[in-house]
């Protein structure tokens, strides 16, 4: 392969295929549309959030608020459907406006105050989690006819596997994310920012606008992830998805995106999410392993990828120095 920038992506895909093959040898049933359908459904909210996170990390930033935003979204939907009588679609639209505006505000602060994204989004994380608590301390079941009908939408794949609505939403999110990151001027600006803010500015990039848009997009994706999570669990709970932001960051890195920004592919993240889901599925199939093994496997994978990226970096710099 002539372009070293493809290596991490290829490594990610290779790891996924090998992992799938190993699982298949032990549990042949794992290679069925039922398992594949569940893989998509169970990880839909994580995948959607990870699309936003990929864009953020490509720009050299980080967004720690997304887990809280998902929890807030669930509570918001549950409370609104219970108390306001608005149609679920109207509630969804309102929610997305709120989370997008919230992301945009964080982006604006990061740019205007020249603050590290880590701190600003950490503050956002506590803030949003707190607001979710303010709306309700308990888990609220969502009971709305239109909402429950959405939960039941699926397409039957050959082999009786169910491709659910939320699985499809995730795949669409990846397609849209891919186009935005790799096929638009906004995407080019994101990569430019990840390559070097000063240089991007000198090349005529509008850094402020791009930063606001990046975090607004991540907020939008977190809101969408929240809707999907609410559909998935059928309830809103302020304590839900604690630590999901870190899982999302892990899937992005396992997906081959450079944590320091500037290099990576949105579709790599999809494979990162699927690899993580596959490990969980394996543990379920095995039945004797504790679910903590997922974490251990993720930890090992993450470490392996960081080492791989460091090695690649050294390889390319050594080559350009020669």
């Amino acid at each position: 392969m002539r372009n070293p920038r493809l290596y991490p992506l290829l490594a990610t895909i290779a790891i996924f295929i090998i992992a799938y093959a190993i699982c298949y040898l032990q549990f042949p049933y794992i290679l069925s549309t039922r398992v594949a359908g569940n893989l998509l459904t169970d990880n839909a909210y994580l995948g959607i959030v990870a699309v936003g996170m990929t864009i953020v990390i490509l720009s050299g930033g980080i967004d720690l608020s997304v887990g809280s935003v998902i929890a807030f979204s669930g509570v918001f939907i549950a409370v609104m459907l219970r108390d306001s009588g608005l149609h679920p679609l109207a509630v969804f639209a309102l929610l997305l406006v709120i989370t997008t505006a919230f992301g945009a505000a964080m982006g604006w602060l990061i740019y205007r105050l020249a603050m590290p994204a880590f701190i600003v989004t950490l503050a956002g994380m506590f803030l949003v989690r707190g607001v979710a608590y303010m709306m309700s301390i308990d888990s609220i079941p969502i009971d709305h006819p239109f909402f429950t009908s959405l939960q039941r939408v699926y397409w039957l794949m050959p082999g009786k596997g169910r491709l659910t609505l939320i699985g499809v939403v995730m795949l669409l999110a990846f397609v849209v994310g891919h186009i935005i990151a790799h096929r638009t001027r906004f995407g080019a600006n994101v990569f430019a920012l990840g390559g070097g803010e000063q240089t991007a500015r000198l090349m005529g990039s509008r850094v402020g606008r791009t930063t606001v848009m990046i975090y607004a997009f991540s907020g939008l994706m977190a809101g969408l992830g929240g809707i999907v999570f609410a559909l998935y669990t059928g309830s809103g709970y302020p304590l839900a998805t604690v630590g999901t932001e870190l899982t999302a960051i892990a899937t992005v890195v396992i997906g081959g995106t450079l944590l320091t920004g500037g290099a990576g592919y949105v579709f790599g993240t999809l494979f990162g999410v699927l690899t993580m889901g596959l490990i969980q599925t394996y543990i379920v199939f095995d039945g004797t392993l504790s679910s903590w093994w997922t974490r251990i496997a993720i930890g090992v994978l993450l470490l392996a990828f960081i080492v791989l990226q460091k090695g690649l970096l050294r390889l390319t710099t050594a080559r350009s120095a020669a």
Binding site: R2, N3, P4, R5, I179, R183, T184, R185, A188, F191, A192, G194, G195, G196, T199, A200, R201, L202, M203, G204, S205, G262, A263, T316, R319, S320
Partner: protein, 505 residues
């Protein structure tokens, strides 16, 4: 007239960076902008490219008054700039870099094919045969430089500013660049060329404008302005004369007797071949060789940045342990690295902080250098080294290259070291400051300090050194001293093939 600056003035706190400067650029000419560090070249360029807003005066482009307030505005008006450090994105492909901000789109979606076609058109006539889909970072600086020029020309197309474009290019690459510049000139662009390589200025430029201390000194055709007068304009007379006498000056043989330091069999596998070196009190050792010959690597070994695999270092009192820079500093060593910006200074800290840094590190953080002492040191070195600044609290990043280098020197001098390693002390610094830095090196050794100077400027190396060591392929291939130190001998030693030469060991 394509571009005319009239009475351009720019003031920073307490300092006039540009004082009523007039400058004219015709289309189809290459106009050199020369001057020492801090003469105002960068400020002038930044006013043109919209990084700074001018305080007074006017900028006329095609007779119309313009006030660029951002790089992209300046670009849109027709003024493009290529800097010494290539300001493109190494993590994007060549095609992406060329079309950045102007990608061909359909319904908001970039078409990679059209993008590639556009990029190929932009690169036509530059004699580059490169893969447009590869990361820009995988190509040499020279290629990146040409890509940057192609982009600047395409986006602006009236005025092209080249700010030290040749600093990191070799001869062949410089010729390649010049061919492109000449072609652009013939197409009617006005080109402003900033460089401190006078040979290149004479080879390329039609007219020369010299700035000094924020004022325009002279504008003349390059064929009527001879080199001596040019240097006089740039430096003012005294300094030029001083540099001349400096060149003729040569120290008699260094003090014999007990060496200050001896390096015996010091080496690191695959990095530097083992070498012996005895350093005498008060001598200047020059280290020469081509890029990659092991010059910087030797210095890093000496300063403990890399661990040595073999050999010992000793002084009069016994063996020294040099496992890391801390050890080296404790042993009285100092090191001013080649890449000043990333390794030498902390740009956001003040001059005072930077000077006190190494001293504070040695004392440990519990015993702070008293504020009064810090101020005294800073004031002392600002005066002694003639650091041009509005005060000791100015951030080092805002100083010009030569003055930054002086701050690095001051930091080590405050430690009162016995052995100082200077890696390319004059890189990226204009002629006037070169002479000053060399003069400083001489003064230091008068008090017994030994200095090792690494430089690719042979003239300077020869002028300043008592001994010259020549490296090739990570190995010492020649040692010259006394009257053997001539340009010819050094060049021969560098160029000689595999035979090992020992000229007067």
């Amino acid at each position: 007239m394509l571009l005319a600056l009239q009475s351009l003035t720019k003031t920073f706190v307490g300092m006039k960076a540009l004082d009523e400067v007039d400058f004219e650029l015709a289309s189809g000419e290459v106009h050199a902008l020369l001057g020492e560090n801090g003469a105002g070249k960068s400020t002038l360029i930044k006013c043109l490219t919209g990084v700074y807003r001018r305080d007074a005066g006017s900028i006329l482009l095609d007779g119309r008054d313009i006030s660029p307030d951002s790089t992209s505005r300046a670009q849109a008006l027709g003024i493009g700039t290529v800097y010494q450090e290539v300001n493109l994105l190494p993590n994007l492909t060549v095609a992406q870099n060329l079309t950045f901000g102007h990608e061909p789109r359909r319904f908001g979606i970039i078409s990679p094919r059209a993008q590639r076609r556009r990029a190929a058109q932009m690169l036509e006539g530059y004699g580059l045969d490169i893969d447009l889909d590869r990361d820009l970072g995988s190509y040499s600086v020279a290629v990146q430089q040409l890509v940057a020029i192609a982009r600047a020309v395409e986006l602006s197309g009236r005025v092209l500013i080249l700010d030290e474009p040749t600093a990191s290019l070799d001869d062949r690459e410089v010729q390649m660049l010049f061919a492109v510049v000449r072609r652009l000139r013939d197409r009617g662009l006005g080109i402003i060329f900033v460089s401190h390589f006078l040979d290149q200025v004479y080879a390329l430029c039609d007219r020369i404008t010299v700035l000094r201390n924020g004022c325009r000194i002279v504008t003349e055709r390059s064929d009527s302005l001879d080199r001596v007068r040019l240097i006089e304009h740039m430096l003012g007379r005294e300094l030029a004369a001083q540099e001349e006498s400096e060149k003729r000056h040569r120290r008699s043989a260094p003090l014999a007797g007990e060496p200050l330091l001896s390096f015996a069999g010091v080496g690191r596998r695959g990095f530097v071949e083992p070498f012996d070196l005895e350093v005498q009190r008060g001598e200047v050792i020059g280290m020469s060789g081509l890029l990659g010959s092991g010059r910087t690597e030797t210095a890093e070994l000496m300063f403990g940045i890399r661990r040595m695999h073999s050999g010992t270092v000793s002084d009069a009192e016994g063996d020294l342990r040099l496992n890391n820079p801390r050890d080296a500093i404790a042993a009285g060593f100092g090191f001013a690295p080649e890449d000043r910006k990333t390794d030498g200074i902390i740009a956001d800290l003040s001059i005072r902080d930077n000077i006190v840094l190494a001293m504070q590190a040695r004392r440990g953080w519990l015993r702070r250098v008293p504020r009064a002492e810090q101020k005294r040191l800073a004031a002392d070195y600002i005066e002694r080294l003639d650091i041009r600044t509005s005060g000791p609290e100015k951030a080092v990043g805002e100083l010009s290259g030569g003055n930054q280098q002086k701050v690095v020197l001051a930091r080590w001098l405050a430690m009162n070291p016995r052995f100082l390693v200077l890696d390319e002390p004059t890189r990226g610094i204009d002629v006037g400051a070169h002479a000053e830095i060399l003069q400083l090196v001489r003064e230091l050794t008068a008090r017994g300090m030994a200095v090792l100077v690494i430089s690719s400027e042979l003239d300077e190396l020869i002028a300043v050194s008592d001994r010259v060591i020549v490296l090739r392929d990570r190995r010492q291939v020649a040692r010259l001293s006394g009257s053997d130190i001539t340009l010819e001998n050094v060049v021969h030693a560098i160029a000689a093939s595999d035979e090992h030469r020992e000229v007067s060991a």
